[in-house]
Amino acid sequence: MRLNEEEQAIAAGALGEPRRMALEQQTIVGRYFGAEDFVPVAQAHLMADGEAVGEAGLALLERLAAHPEAERRVRVPTVTDPRGVDRRLCAKLQQPAYAEAREQRIVAALEAFGCLMTNTCINYQTVMAPVLGEHLAFGDTGSVNYANGVCGARSNFEGGVAALWAGLTGRVPRYGMHLDQARLARSRFRLTFQPEELTQWGALGGVIGRALRSYWDIPVIEGVEAPPGSDALKHLGAALGSFGSTPMFHVVGVTPEAPTLAAASAPDARAPIEIGLKDLEDFAASFAMENDNVDLVVFAAPQISLLELERLASLLDGQSLAAGTSLLAATTEEIASAARRMGLAQKIEAAGGQILEGVCFYQMYAREIGQANGWRNLVTNSAKLANIIGGYGYNPALASMERCVEAALSGRLTP
């Protein structure tokens, strides 16, 4: 890789060990993918929940955070992905005893780097929307999909520590989604119906994600008759990233780099695959619980917006959860505050639900809290969560928000 004068100084350690190590790591990855040089980024978005970071990651963070401020401060705004602990609820959720102490140490280290503790995976909705052509270092697969696909910004997956490296150097290796050619669609999908609600958009992302061949196989979707809205594209992008390891998508006539099918497609794009409502139903049916008893209903992954929270409050208003069934809804601290000010949070809590603030369910030591609370059958409206949570010992089912609420109120998931 070509290093400019400043990058050579960083590599030589002239700007301190944290930046030297960051550039060294980025150079290994850049060379691996054939990057010719680095590109400056406008902001970074860092995933560092305690379960993922672990003790080894924490030791690394604390070692780097102990350097003088001039050496450790991030050089571009660096916001954070959801935390692993909502301190109000750590005991109630029966998170492991070490979780809160580890969390405090991670937060202290991130604050020492100068990270902005936004604690959200929907930063594109709640912190600052990316703009067309902007180079970024985002660290959540859903946020990367939204930034690339919906906003036309440019980011690869900068997983966990890689986003910290980007914050410390202010740049990333120029490969993948930073290059025009890699952003063109190789796979085409044509809808024969119009998705009507958020779970269907997530399921669509799941169907397409399963059909894609790799990170480098970008999809374009034809046949969407009207812009579906931010939350729909959020669920679509989150599921694409989860099932397909896909970093961006095009929707013809909707997303900025797809004014036409030809503009979004590579010359060698494959023939289109048709997707109908039956494909989404089959996809949902691929998740099945052991029986129809519901232990837990979760709205998360991605964190839910104020509009989704309002819908949930409306469905739960004046109702009570079934005995033995829990309901959790994860959102940002700012949206939770707004929801409380507007009386929405109170409706959810009066019904027996719980709002998780600044966290996301699967990042909260999901295996341990599932075992501690006896949660096994989990219903969610998030295709992404349904995909992830099976590995943590849950039996997930995928249903619309309305069916999820019905399941929470009755304790059973009915067809």
Binding site: A52, G139, N156, G159, V161, Y215, F243, T246, N387, G391
Partner: protein, 135 residues
């Protein structure tokens, strides 16, 4: 039977070990019980099997960014694979392998999961971008 396959991309140290092969994708968060060192996702073909010390040969990277942290913790705790070999990887697995010092190969001109059987002794040599089946 011995054979040598060449990868388009490679990083990390040279290692020799026993192959564990499946046509599935891979994500540390989605697929593993990292406390026990086994595949924990019921739908994964390697469900219940230990990956510790094995050379994992799988199809492609799947979603999730957590592997970038998790490989480091897995190596630190002694519950890591010896190397990862894939048809196609993604930035997250490369970032995680770089931090953890894990060997990583990807980009073969044939489906690598169809060419090696679980239990085979294999050598991963990133300097030469090769995967050798030793027998």
């Amino acid at each position: 039977m011995t054979a040598t396959y060449w990868a388009a991309r490679a990083m990390g140290p040279r290692v020799i070990g026993e192959a564990l092969v499946a046509t599935d994708g891979f994500s540390a968060r989605y697929d593993l019980d990292r406390l026990k060192g086994i595949f924990s996702r019921p739908s994964h073909r390697l469900f219940g099997q230990s990956y510790v010390g094995k050379i994992l040969i799988l199809d492609r990277a799947k979603g999730g960014v957590a592997s970038a942290w998790m490989f480091n913790e897995m190596v630190s705790s002694g519950l890591a694979p010896a190397a990862l070999v894939m048809n196609r990887t993604n930035p997250v697995l490369a970032q995680g392998a770089a931090l953890a010092g894990l060997a990583l190969l990807d980009g073969f001109d044939q489906h690598i999961t169809a060419l090696v059987e679980s239990g085979a002794q294999v050598e991963v040599d990133p300097d030469h971008r090769t995967l050798k089946v030793l027998g």
